[in-house]
């Protein structure tokens, strides 16, 4: 199936193309946009990006598979990125992640229609460890006891990652 970009995305991509000496650098933003509009980066979504920017499919594929935020499979509407790196580990980050897994019925790395749960490397909020980021929203100084409340919050006020692209 041949996919398309929305008019808004096309406008954004055209504006960005003015900012660089060639179209290739816009591949990162175009992939973010394709993921936002089509949910994930299927082969067809990669072809759409390649066609839009006049790049070889192989190049777009290479870029899409290098970075961890691009996903090649469908995922949940919201992504919960829970850090377990050193500062978070020292303050029980693994216990919080285990509680998230239990309450969401998801293992780290898994998705359902609602959520994707990611064990993340440091998210630059170490002074408020343990912490997680969901789109534009941070959850800081988390505790195991608070996990159900946090999940409720995320459901109540969604901040999907595509929001900021």
């Amino acid at each position: 199936m041949s996919l398309e970009f929305s008019a808004d995305a096309q406008k954004k991509i055209a504006a960005l193309c003015e900012r660089y000496p060639s179209k290739q650098p816009v591949v990162m933003a175009a992939l973010h946009l394709a993921q936002k509009e089509h949910g994930y980066l299927s082969d067809d979504a990669l072809r759409l990006v390649a066609r839009t920017l006049g790049l070889p499919y192989a190049h777009v594929y290479g870029v899409a598979t290098f970075y961890t935020m691009y996903r090649r499979q469908p995922g949940g509407k919201q992504t919960i990125r829970m850090c377990t790196n050193i500062s978070c580990m020292l303050r029980d980050g693994y216990a919080v992640l285990a509680e998230l897994e239990k309450r969401l019925g998801l293992k780290r790395g898994e998705s359902n229609a609602e959520f994707t749960l990611v064990e993340e490397e440091c998210i630059a909020a170490c002074a408020n460890a343990p912490c997680a980021v969901v789109g534009t929203r941070y959850f800081l100084d988390m505790t195991v006891a608070e996990v159900p409340k946090i999940i409720e919050e995320i459901r109540r006020k969604p901040t999907p990652e595509g929001e900021v692209v």
């Binding site: 660089y20 290098f66 990125r81 500062s87 002074a127």
Partner: protein, 445 residues
Amino acid sequence: MPAEIGTKVVTTRFGNENAKTLAGYEATGGYGTLRKALAMRPEDITAEVKASNLRGRGGAGFATGVKWGFVPKDAKAVHLVCNADESEPGTCKDRELIYWDPHLLIEGMICSAHALRAVHNYIYIRGEMMREYAVLQRAVDEAYQRGYLGKNILGTGIECHLTVHRGAGAYICGEETALLNSLEGERGQPRLKPPFPAVKGAFGNPTIVNNVETLMNVPAILDKGGAWFNDLGMGRSGGTRMLCVSGHVKKPGVFELPMGITFTQIIHDVCGGVPDGRKVKAVIPGGVSMPPLDADELDVPCEFDALQTDERIKPVMVRPGQQFDLGGGRPLRTMAGSGGIVVLDDTTDIPRAVWRIMKFFAHESCGQCTPCREGTGWLEKVSRRVAEGRGKPDDVDLLASIAHGIAGNTICALGDAAAWPMLGFLTKYRADFEAKIAGAKRGAA
């Protein structure tokens, strides 16, 4: 006059929600320095930055003015790229700086771009920083509308553009040449140096890559003078430093502190000490890439040169009796790195903490060089089995020899970043590893 606790250069607007907007920023004097800077000759700005002894806050501590001086004089096009990829574990200052004061970064970049005669400039922001991206993009849009950015800024005839480029998840893109590849729409793999970016960087043109905090210091330097900034600091390091303190302290946080502050002062005076009467066991002084300090080494100032040369810090060893050689017989003590200070108290399971650090590097290796790709994988595997109580008698030596095989033998410094803390922890906490391995043997018998 040296800075004191409470002296502020880059955090004056922290806590002021209104300062994120152009009007709020201008109301606190923002963009005042820009007018002055645009009236200065580019070489005079660079001279002021040289005099300030501003050193890069991204990790290596290289003198900023000196780096700017490497751009060839006859360059046709030059770029300034701000490194906002902050992802060194333990480090959380750039994210706060962008969030609280995006216009200060923009003003710093325009002043710096003028010094470099750079027209097309970029901020490479980490993909996961979505809240900060939204704040920053809005600020850039406002700066364009007001004529601080564009074809003819403030009617001076100077052209200056700023584009925010979002990453998409890859620690290695913080390394400056990987960042440039990513900016060009490639996979984020580091390039061989030389050529250095200042000679051949983005799009084949001379490019200066500077950290967020580095660039945010520039307006104050131009406003109050390089000598003033230099006097705030210590030795060959001007200004204050942003330090991020996490782990086992009562009051973790992100603080702007004097360059010469010691770790003892940071832990006790600024962060209220270690909870529950416990004691410090180890301190990571500048992000997980840096060898740790032990409890006897905490009276050293948190300054760039001191951490490399102060003889109170024991040198990193390859094995007992063999000092690690940084080149020419120079010992490796530690480095100031990115300002990420992680405090580990005396209940910490050191082998497990080290395993988590090695897991990170194994995950983030870009895979180009065999010693790094294979070596970080092995470090993770062996440190995991030690941490899980399945260690073998030779594992301490094995970890040391793998780390030694990586250090100095790779395209970029990620290899060293994994090897150094591994060797540093083995040097200072060998007994912890040995005890865990001895316990494993007993358990198996």
